[in-house]
């Protein structure tokens, strides 16, 4: 599998290939900003299949992903004497899972940030993800997947997921990329970036992550934003090399004032390890 805009590690490739071969969901965990969501997008693009993204919030119920029955619209239509009211199918609104099941060529379904939802949420989806089918009570019909979609599930570890759910998934933990991998990641996003600038930016970035007592360590996505700013502002590598705690555009990396104060106090270090 070729992912054009995504740098993978061999263990991640194995995990994705296993999920594709055995048609089981792949649960991806990792620090925020390590590219869990982007992975699903890139895999979908490389397989040439449509991506259905279901973003989970604290109020999301499993049912929302399957379908919803719009009773209020039906009530209103019945008051207005709309002929559509006689068929309940007109008021069944399909969710992301249903849409993914219907895709004729198969699809990639991303259940993003599953840990944000209620603790029972994953359990409510066991059958649907295992058998790839569910029952619509209003119309008394079964919905079955035409082709089993490839399911990606991401989690930020805010809640523990139930064992029964975990048993049905493959699991991969994305570690924070080491320097070499990170250089490749930046290169994928900014081809033709000056090597000196990249080197300085990375040594500042990893030095910053090493500052003890940071409340929020900058992550990959923040590094990419920062490099984008550096390129946009045309900051030369020499300026970065000489920069102190007031380094240009550090605001893209540090997201609260305590951290800014901590860094100012500790001084900006550079991590020169290769």
């Amino acid at each position: 599998m070729e992912l054009r805009n995504y740098v993978t590690t061999p263990d991640l490739v194995t995990a994705v290939q296993a999920a594709v071969a055995l048609e089981r969901p792949l649960l991806v965990k990792g620090e925020p900003g390590t590219g869990k969501t982007v992975l699903a997008e890139e895999v979908a693009a490389s397989l040439g299949k449509p991506l259905f993204r279901w973003h989970v919030k604290s109020t999301t119920k499993a049912q929302h992903g399957l379908y919803e029955y719009d009773a209020v619209a039906r009530l209103r239509d019945s008051q207005l004497g709309d002929p559509r009211v006689s068929d309940v199918r007109n008021y069944i609104v399909k969710g992301r899972v249903w849409e993914a099941f219907e895709a004729p060529e198969g699809a990639v379904l991303l259940i993003d940030e599953i840990d944000k939802a209620d603790i029972e949420f994953p359990n409510d989806l066991l059958q649907e993800l295992d058998r790839m089918e569910f029952f619509v009570h209003e119309t008394r019909e079964w919905v079955r997947a035409k082709r089993r979609p490839l399911v990606f599930i991401t989690s930020n570890n805010e809640k523990e997921l139930p064992d029964a759910f975990l048993r049905r998934c493959f699991f991969h933990f994305i570690r924070f990329p080491d320097r070499e991998t990170m250089a490749r990641i930046v290169a994928v996003h900014f081809p033709g970036l000056q090597e000196a600038l990249l080197r300085e930016a990375l040594s500042l970035f990893y030095g910053l992550r090493d500052v003890p007592g940071l409340r929020k360590k900058p992550s990959t996505s923040e590094l990419l934003d920062w490099v984008k700013l550096l390129v946009h502002e045309g900051v030369p590598a020499e300026t970065l090399a000489r920069a102190d705690a007031q380094a240009p555009l550090l605001g893209a990396l540090l997201k609260n004032e305590q951290d800014t104060a901590t860094v100012r106090h500790a001084g900006l270090r550079r991590s020169r390890r290769a």
Binding site: D11, A15, L27, E158, L166, R167, F170, F173
Partner: protein
């Protein structure tokens, strides 16, 4: 095919089930492992392990079972910097063990000996009294190479290729028992979620409205309730006594995680043991002290009590009036601790000292007893247990006969 491996994983407390094992066999059958040991390692990990906290245990079991596959893996013993081990040992060792090290000729001699043995040793070793490995009684065991701590990879003299991926133990930091940063603590503290309705009633109450309307003979009587919010109340007592210096960093991390997680956190400080006076953590210097009795009156039973301290002190500080190091106390420390436990049905003591060393101090056991065994190590797993115990009230243990 890999039954023994599967069983060892279960023995090592990696929660794997038969279903996952069958999935692995299926995947191998379909050629996902590519007849390559590294691919097999990755495949087995993605199939069998569902939590990064168990990656490290998995790595160790994998190394024990399949470590000899492929060419010999090695770790250059001369690459172990002496200062690095020394700093580690200083943190891990108790006084007795330090004395033992001294009797063996000090660190430098030991390091030299270690290098010598590493060069002699050709294969993985467990148990025994000379070789370096796991669970042995060689002097290096005393230096703190406990099975979960620093392990020295298998050595293959003359053929030092790169260390195999499972021998790198990159996931050690993710293990349950590891002490980790603010965010991980915050996750553990979340166990203490306590939803209460307080403040402005602005959420429509369906049940209440139906009830009130029925009582009102069918005339609509809309009812509102305040929104449910996560509001656990916590009284936090922090030991800032001298012996706590070693633990400043983890305690600070715990404190900042707790401050972010609990909107109603009341912190106080004490020295070694709680007596009649507590100290506020902020505010003008002259008004920093607070009478403990006053604190107990102000923050009632609805608060959970969390004490963070190593409980390592002289027995006099616990037992004798006047035993405190800084001032004269009329009542014993034990009496004050019992009063605290009696006042707060939900209480826990969190000890930053590694659990293995608790037995070395008599007072740790005593304090643990006073707290009805609710003493937990300052690790992510420990905090989780503590929060679980805090979530339910436990009646105070009966006061012991003095």
């Amino acid at each position: 095919m890999f039954d023994r491996f599967f069983l060892s994983l279960r023995d090592a407390k990696v929660p794997v089930s038969l279903r996952e094992y069958l999935t692995l066999l299926e995947a191998v059958e379909r050629g996902c492992a590519d007849f390559d040991v590294e691919r097999f390692y990755e495949l087995a990990r993605t199939t069998l392990v569902k939590d990064e906290r168990h990656y490290d245990r998995f790595d160790r079991v994998f190394a024990a079972h399949f470590g000899n596959l492929g060419e010999g893996a090695g770790l250059d013993p001369s690459g172990v910097p002496a200062g690095w081990l020394e700093a580690l040992a200083r943190r891990v060792l108790s006084e007795e063990e330090k004395a033992l090290v001294k009797s063996l000729g000090g660190f430098e001699k030991l390091m030299e000996e270690l290098r010598k043995r590493l060069l002699e040793q050709k294969d993985v070793h467990r148990g025994g009294s000379k070789w370096i490995g796991t669970g042995g009684t060689s002097p290096f065991g005393a230096m703190g190479y406990h099975p979960e701590g620093v392990r020295i990879g298998p050595v293959s003299a003359g053929n030092r290729t790169a260390v195999k991926v499972w021998d790198r133990r990159e996931f050690r930091d993710y293990d349950d028992d590891a002490e980790v940063g603010v965010r991980t603590f915050q996750m553990a503290l979340r166990r203490l979620r306590r939803f209460t309705r307080e403040g402005r009633p602005d959420v429509f109450d369906v049940d209440g409205t139906i009830d009130a309307t029925a009582r009102n003979a069918g005339l609509l009587d809309a009812q509102f309730v305040p929104e449910r919010r996560n509001r656990p109340k916590v009284l936090l007592l922090l030991d800032v006594g001298g012996s706590m210096d070693d633990h400043v960093e983890t305690v600070t991390q715990l404190f900042s995680a707790a401050r972010a997680e609990f909107t109603r956190l009341v912190p106080f400080q004490f020295h070694n043991c709680v007596y009649e006076t507590l100290w506020r953590t902020s505010g003008p210097r002259e008004s920093r002290t607070a009478a403990t009795a006053e604190v107990l009156r102000t923050y009632g039973k609805d608060h959970g009590l969390v004490v963070v301290g190593d409980a390592a002190m002289s027995p006099y500080e616990l037992d004798a009036p006047g035993g405190a190091i800084h001032h004269w106390n009329d009542e014993t420390g034990a009496a004050w601790l019992e009063r605290l436990v009696a006042h707060y049905p939900r209480a826990a003591w969190i000890n930053p000292m590694p659990e293995a060393r608790w037995r070395a101090f008599e007072t740790v056991g005593r304090v643990k007893g006073i707290f009805g065994n609710r003493m937990f190590p300052l690790t992510v797993g420990g905090i989780e247990q503590a929060m679980r115990r805090l979530a339910r009230a436990t009646p105070a243990p009966p006061p012991r006969a003095a």
